[in-house]
Amino acid sequence: MEVDEIVEGILSGNKRYLARAITYVENEFPEGKEILKRVYGRTGKAHVVGITGFPGVGKSTIVSKLTQEFRRRGKTVGIVAIDPGSPFTGGALLGDRLRMDGLDTNRDLWIDPGVFFRSMSSRGRAGGLAAKTGDAVRLMDAFGFDVVLVETVGAGQSEVDIIEVADTSIVALMPEMGDDIQINKAGILEIGDIYVVNKADLGGAEKTERWIKAMLMMDEEAVEILTKTTHAQEYEVQSGKIFDKIARSGWKPPVIKTIADKGEGIPELADAIEEHFKYLKESGMLIETRKKRLTREMTEILVNEIKKYLRSNRAVDFDKIVEKVTSNNLDPHTAVEKILKSILK
């Protein structure tokens, strides 16, 4: 399939071309990059919502019910669902789609023209996402979906990549997944804009809810106390994105109890998601976060391009310079300065 045909297909809302574009991007075909370049001008409108949490807490079911809820509200929904790919064989069993409600509801999401579902393998990558998740989201954004839901791999404790892609991150938990120390550990429990306690009909949901709320209160207090110390500036540097977010955001993450398979708590969750998006827009956080993200992304692209250039360009004999450094005839810093000079001239 030609790039022109695919771009045109995407812009005219034909799912088949969106599907093929994702394939090209996912497999790093040169056409993929070309398509991304061409549709970029159409991106930036969708609300990207990430859902993460431990395996089995009900992420896929929440995604399915949320999709229904958003459709009821007249919004179109693109979904990227990531499952783990084997680091040994490269294979994957992608089982998120099967949770999507089919015949047992009034609206058949599988064939709904306002819904597009794509399963992705993480292809052995850590972090909870596939390498090309961000680009797949961008294609869906360009296609025109109002909401793009990203479901991560069932996360352990430190898979926090979702915040690099999502405007709104939902952390899903369920009762009896450990005590309050588990809740206060660093990692995915720090990243939620919204927390969900799913399977709330199981015993212990209130306790889990209480623990999360206590954790969130401590976050706020910690920021307040730390910013008052004489070392405030130092803390600000060390604390990085997360503290930054809490300290300046003014958004208090809600904790919502759901029984996803029965649809309970889902409208409340959809409300919270919409409210968060509104807050992001009004506070200017949306633009600010996207700017930061693009800075990181472009830096990454730049570094990769330089690497590629060094490998392919004959004007810089990288191997030879390395040899010089190895034999102590040149130091690494001077060597790099020389290389940069020859690239930049």
Partner: protein
């Protein structure tokens, strides 16, 4: 970069026998394919749309209901209706299919039929070879 082979393993219609489909899905995973499983009781429309959205190379339909002559062509027709091209796909049918219906099913667009007792390596080899053929043609 070589494109990964994606396989949709589907159950269509009123047929609750999914042990075979799940076992095949699992072994195809171990053979290095990316396998998407639909779950039970899907309609032909749903399976067809899934094949289009997931942009799979292979679609494997598991049937133990005896409705293969009706349902398989329906799935392929809907794929076409949704903008896909079933001729580019490797179409497999697995489950209970009487041998005297193999030929007729193949004229309806099916590339391979695998009945109970088929060694999994036969399916894996068939997929690898057929995908290569179809990609070369495209």
């Amino acid at each position: 970069m070589e494109k990964k082979i994606r396989v949709l393993v589907a159950k269509v219609g009123l047929d609750g026998h999914d042990r075979g489909a799940k076992v095949v899905a699992r072994f195809l995973r171990d053979a290095g394919f990316e396998v998407i499983y639909t779950g039970l009781h899907r309609t032909p429309q749903e399976v067809a749309m899934a094949a289009v959205e997931e942009d799979v190379d292979v679609i494997g339909i598991s049937l133990h209901s005896g409705a293969h002559m009706t349902l398989v062509p329906k799935v392929l027709n809907y794929i076409r209706e949704y903008g896909g091209n079933p001729d580019e796909l490797v179409v497999l049918v697995g489950g209970i299919v009487p041998e005297d219906e193999f030929d007729e099913l193949k004229t309806k667009g099916v590339d391979g039929i695998f009945i109970p007792g088929t060694p999994i390596s036969e399916i894996v080899d068939f997929i690898n070879q057929k995908v290569k053929e179809k990609r070369n043609k495209a």
